[in-house]
């Protein structure tokens, strides 16, 4: 049953995505101050939320992995970490494109941009250490993931603490209903896709761990058989 979850989620995303495009471009009006480019918002903001959500998931799972030596938590942390890199890249590309269209400047070094860039770099480091690190580097990687997760609230509160070009966090809550009606399907499609990919990746990681263990056992059995024969 759990193996079908990613397929169901991807099917939902395949249905909801065209609906979201329809709502964004045909049913939602053009924002008066930011113009047509504001429609990037409907995918940029959900990607940022997905990045922060999986940043937290990765940090929590890495903490559980360190404390309980849980393989499931380790697999979830690896999958979530990769999703942070993917979603973070999406945010860091679509944000400057939107900035360039609306304000003529792609990057302003504002606090939210910098903290988002920092989060992305931390999780790139996490993925690299997980992939290329020597034996025992999983603990270092887990510490990096926890450090990265701590950056998530910093991104959220950056617009309150520092003066930034990003609007305040309250702006999403004050959106008119027609904008919410377009934002929900976009968020749903992207979130469903992201969860499906994370579930697939986590499952792959667990299978890989089991296969590695099986190889070690096979080698041990072969050595034992050789020893018994001699």
């Amino acid at each position: 049953m759990t193996r079908q979850i990613p397929i169901v989620l991807l099917a939902i995303a395949a249905v909801v995505f065209p609906l979201s495009v329809h709502k964004i471009f045909l049913e939602t009006g053009i924002e008066r101050q930011l113009g047509t480019a504001q429609k990037i918002f409907y995918f940029h903001v959900p990607m940022a939320w997905i990045m922060m959500l999986f940043g937290l998931v990765c940090g929590i799972a890495a903490g559980i992995q360190l404390r309980r030596q849980s393989r499931r938590a380790e697999a979830v942390a690896i999958a979530a970490g990769e999703m942070v890199v993917l979603a973070g890249l999406g945010v860091l590309i679509t944000g400057p494109i939107w900035g360039h269209a609306s304000w003529g400047k792609a990057w302003t070094w504002d606090a939210r941009q910098v903290t988002t860039g920092l989060l992305w770099l931390v999780f790139v480091a996490y993925v690299l250490v997980r992939r290329y690190g020597a034996a025992g580097s999983d603990r270092l990687a887990a510490a990096l993931a926890i450090f990265g997760a701590v950056d998530v609230p910093v991104i959220y509160y950056a617009v309150k603490i520092w003066k930034t070009t990003h609007p305040s966090n309250d702006v999403v809550g004050t959106l008119p209903p027609e904008m919410w009606a377009a934002l929900w399907p976009a968020l749903g499609a992207l979130l469903a896709t992201a969860i499906a990919l994370v579930a697939v990746r986590a499952r792959q990681e667990m299978i890989e761990m089991d296969v590695d263990d099986a190889w070690v056992r096979v080698d041990e059995l072969r050595e034992a058989a050789k020893g018994a024969a001699s």
């Binding site: 990037i40 993917l86 590309i93 939107w98 990746r201 296969v211």
Partner: protein, 92 residues
């Protein structure tokens, strides 16, 4: 903008000259040209905005697609590993 073209604010429309301009009832040439100028600026901005939108949406879904392909390839490699392992166990 050339003031001789705009000709200031005129209450009465100028007569048409060749095919370059056709008077519209109730609008003078300056108003029409001014409107056209703003329309052209707005159209240019909208076209530029749509170009940015296509790029950002394209990048986003390309990232997901690339990651999906990477997962699919990893899955295929894993299936190969499991098969090799099964063969080795059968031989042992």
């Amino acid at each position: 903008m050339n003031s001789s073209i705009l000709g200031g604010s005129q209450a009465v429309a100028e007569p048409p000259q060749d095919d370059e301009y056709e008077a519209v009832e109730g609008l003078d040439r300056a108003s029409i040209e001014c409107t056209r100028m703003h329309e052209a600026a707005a159209a240019k901005k909208t076209a530029s905005d749509y170009e940015h939108i296509v790029w950002s949406y394209g990048v986003l879904w390309s990232l997901f697609a690339i990651y999906g392909v990477m997962l699919w390839r990893r899955g295929a490699r894993l299936r190969g590993d499991v098969e090799t392992l099964r063969t080795r166990i059968d031989k042992a």
